[in-house]
Amino acid sequence: EDKVVQSPLSLVVHEGDTVTLNCSYEVTNFRSLLWYKQEKKAPTFLFMLTSSGIEKKSGRLSSILDKKELFSILNITATQTGDSAVYLCAVEARNTDKLIFGTGTRLQVFP
């Protein structure tokens, strides 16, 4: 059965800290891995990763995929209170267009 596992489930840090969120997967016919940020509204798209070893970066956020070891990490440097959210990892398989999500990592950043 296809599955996506995220860790840690919850993380509490102070502003300025750097955090690393983990996502491992077991999915048949992998196509892509996506990261979303979910506050109390629509999950917003962060990154789509399809190739191993190529880092994607947007401001203080970056992500990389390892297709051999079947995992991805999302890094956030110099965290701010506005980074507080649930970060969702999802994988899409080639034989279906649906996304398979992990449970999410809840990040809380305190001033």
């Binding site: 999950p43 399809t50 649906k98 449970t103």
Partner: protein, 116 residues
């Protein structure tokens, strides 16, 4: 529109009532998806449309759940005879084209359904 729009944002239903949830996808997006998100969990796939065709409904939990997209744009998710276990956030997503590596799903804000 600029983004995926869902209505209502909140819905309270008495057990046994029927509800209808609406999704208006991004203009021009061919694919539309419905997901169910229970409290503290990640979204789970319910069903998927490509234009007006429902290509996958394997995630619908029971025959009380029904979705349609008759003109290939707006979609409605209907739940008949609601039960307490139906309480969740129902998310809609759309993407430009399915089956492509770069086709990103964009989500609406969801409808929070509470069944009393």
């Amino acid at each position: 529109g600029a983004g995926v729009s869902q209505s209502p944002r909140y819905k309270v239903a008495k057990r046994g009532q029927d509800v209808a949830l609406r999704c208006d996808p991004i203009s021009g997006h061919v694919s539309l998806f419905w997901y169910q998100q229970a409290l503290g969990q990640g979204p789970e796939f319910l069903t998927y449309f490509q234009n007006e065709a429902q290509l996958d409904k394997s995630g619908l939990p029971s025959d009380r759940f029904f979705a349609e997209r008759p003109e290939g744009s707006v979609s409605t998710l209907k739940i008949q005879r609601t039960q307490q276990e139906d309480s969740a956030v129902y998310l809609c997503a759309s993407s430009l084209v399915s089956g492509l590596a770069e086709s990103i799903q964009y989500f609406g804000a969801g409808t929070r359904l509470s069944v009393l």
